[in-house]
Symmetry: C2
């Protein structure tokens, strides 16, 4: 589980309250690790019990808690970063659907894929805007700032991957009005059988 480590990274960058962390996970960190507030609060409590975090009173209300990383937490994060990482299993519903489109409504799927392409393009454009605004001079970056930029680059590349792949699929089935059109006609006949 890396949520606790994602929290350690985020709190190492800047101490914060449960709700601030929730917002970070809805936004910037959420590109590479997403978490709900329920889970964040639960894991924060456990990390505090384990001695990785210390909590002080927050500012905005009596129940608010502000967390910071302890020396033990810092050590745990350091250890984890050096550990080998297993390659995560890929699981994509969209891919299952594309593979099984012959057994379903291909037209509906293609429409939906076009919609998803739009979403991925929007997200890519958003990341690219962030990149321009926050990292106008990447060649001058160093330290943790360089890391943050490079991870944002990953976000951009990931969205590009989705746009390319989904577009290739759609174009293969719809594509241009000439060659692909002939293919599309053939395949629809097969689908009916």
């Amino acid at each position: 589980m890396a949520l606790e480590h994602a929290l350690l990274v985020s709190l190492s960058e800047r101490p914060g309250t449960g709700i601030e962390l929730t917002r970070r996970f809805d936004r910037s960190i959420g590109f590479f690790w997403r978490a709900t507030h329920q889970q964040i609060y639960k894991v924060l409590r456990r990390m505090e019990d384990d001695g990785w975090l210390e909590a002080t009173a927050g500012d905005s209300r009596s129940t608010e808690r502000r967390y910071a990383v302890t020396d033990a937490g810092r050590a745990a994060l350091e250890t984890w970063i050096a550990m080998p990482t297993r390659t995560a299993a890929m699981r994509s519903e969209v891919a299952v659907k594309m593979r099984g489109a012959s057994y379903g409504d291909r037209t509906a799927l293609l429409d939906h894929l076009r919609h998803l392409i739009g979403e991925h393009r929007t997200r890519q454009a958003h990341f690219e805007r962030l990149e321009r605004e926050q990292f106008p001079r990447p060649a001058e970056l160093a330290g943790q700032r360089l890391d943050t930029w490079l991870v944002l680059r990953g976000g951009i590349k990931q969205e590009q991957f989705w746009v390319e792949w989904l577009s290739e699929y759609v174009e293969a089935w719809v594509g241009s009005e000439t060659l692909a059109g002939a293919r599309s006609s053939t395949s629809e006949t097969e689908g009916e059988a």
Copy 2:
């Protein structure tokens, strides 16, 4: 959950036993949906109870069961394929580590990233070989064969994404002996502080 749907797709392509499906999920389907045998057997049973699959005796032993999709299963798959798919949350431990490298052993992480790059390159080469062997003439593909090829294309692009991103990260920190070398020297100093 899409395991049941991935199973419907796989069994629609070709009926099979639990162990055959397990092998398919270790190999070709595993690129876009991975599952353990324990999970597969559990879900197969449930799908049979729900009327989506029918089981007959297998060939290799008295306990072996061979599954095929029922009309109800076909209908369920068709419905699911036409449904909108929510964009899955991205969660990458490697990304968390890259973002938090300043708080850990960056040298160890960079070594590990180089290893991962090698793994992704190997997997990409494997997918590309499959592509050449099984789909020597992609322009002539149609129907379900075209889908299978296009999904394999996604596998190749996904590995390319990882190779590119991880390589960009490593090169930014190590890179060429000139410009990036100067940066690398600066950042190590920061890391010690």
